[in-house]
Symmetry: C2
Subunit: 200 residues, 2 copies
DNA sequence: GTCTATACAAAGATAGAC
DNA sequence: GTCTATCTTTGTATAGAC
């Protein structure tokens, strides 16, 4: 889209700046001036490329949502893998991705919460949580328990530490690097716990 | 504080309105005018009682933080109860409290994230997570594993469903009432899973 | 495409009457 | 204590020159 430019830039610089600022402060607290400054360009230019703050935000948000839910889509619908293999893959995918994007879940969740009408049924994660191959396998293994419990447990244990990260740091529980090591340890532990859980 | 008034009101009405609006939209997206309207009073009056939007917010936030972390403080430092009993108590306390305040965790966490400097070491949750009786018991039981993993797991499984609630609703996974039943089911399940986890 | 200058709207806060 | 009216700041968006 937009006009071709030699250094494939400016537009992308603004988008990148928008990612940074929106993710850090949230939509409402972000000023377009902040984004312009972060991008090293002028405020008017931002409105030239993207029509408004909201348009720019929607672009960024769509990316973030795709990233947050995209990691598991191919995993949970694979017919070739067992439950246990899927769990390993999900946990690894999330911990790796969130190690690089620690603020992602909290950002997406809180923006959805603050502005639910913007996301009216545009989020397709539902099918992943209720109709995937993974869910079918869980029902077969544990017919008496709502499979969503297990899905939530995996996601909880993988994602929650990153959501709670601001508290850990504010409360001095862990430094950022300790947080990293901590998350790494969980890769194998969560799988192990899940096995105990599903066999209990 | 403030002046006495017959119906013990106005000030409290504003505070209550502030709780509602801040929790629903977050600090940045909240307009003092919204709070005034919700309280059924005038904007000027809000500034008369509380000096500024920020002062009012800090008041509300302090309450919310206390509520979010207060539930577990007496439980995890009890010398008379076993690990398993503590887990049951923690899970029950959180699921009950969050059933009545579903938006609480996401609100507190995202505000801390968006404005970490406001909370510089004012959050005392650290001690609960690292120096409680509960933690000591966990170390004794599983000396080879960082006890924080288990604490996080309990909190994850109890709290995360409420944090993800906006997605469930936006994506049509569950209605609000189904969410309630779902959370209720987890009371006993989480305890059961935790036992499997810690004995594995 | 990029800038400076500015219009316009929204939001926080205060003055002053009652 | 409570209101109406208003000041001031800030933030989004646009006009228009280069």
């Amino acid at each position: 889209m937009a006009t071709k430019s030699k250094d494939a830039s400016t537009e992308e610089k603004i988008k990148e700046a928008a990612r940074t600022v929106f993710t850090k402060k949230g939509y409402a607290a972000t000023r377009t001036r902040d984004i312009a400054e972060e991008a090293g360009i002028n405020l008017a230019l931002l409105n030239y490329y993207f029509r408004s703050k909201e348009k720019l935000f929607e672009l960024v948000m769509a990316e973030k949502v795709a990233k947050l839910f995209g990691v598991i889509a191919p995993i949970v619908n694979n017919n070739e893998t067992s439950i246990e293999e899927k769990v390993t893959l999900i946990v690894d995918a999330y911990i790796t991705m969130l190690g690089q994007n620690p603020g992602l879940p909290l950002f997406v969740l809180s923006e959805i919460r603050n502005n639910p009408e913007h996301f009216g049924n545009r989020i397709q994660a539902g099918k992943l949580l209720t109709e995937s191959v993974f869910v079918k396998q869980l029902i077969e293994r544990k017919p008496d328990i709502n499979p969503l419990h297990f899905v939530i447990n995996i996601l909880s244990m993988s994602i929650f530490p990153f959501i709670a990260k601001p508290v850990f740091e504010s409360a001095g529980v862990m430094t950022a690097t300790q947080m990293n090591d901590f998350a790494e340890e969980r890769r194998t532990l969560i799988v192990q716990w899940f096995k105990a859980m599903i066999n209990s």
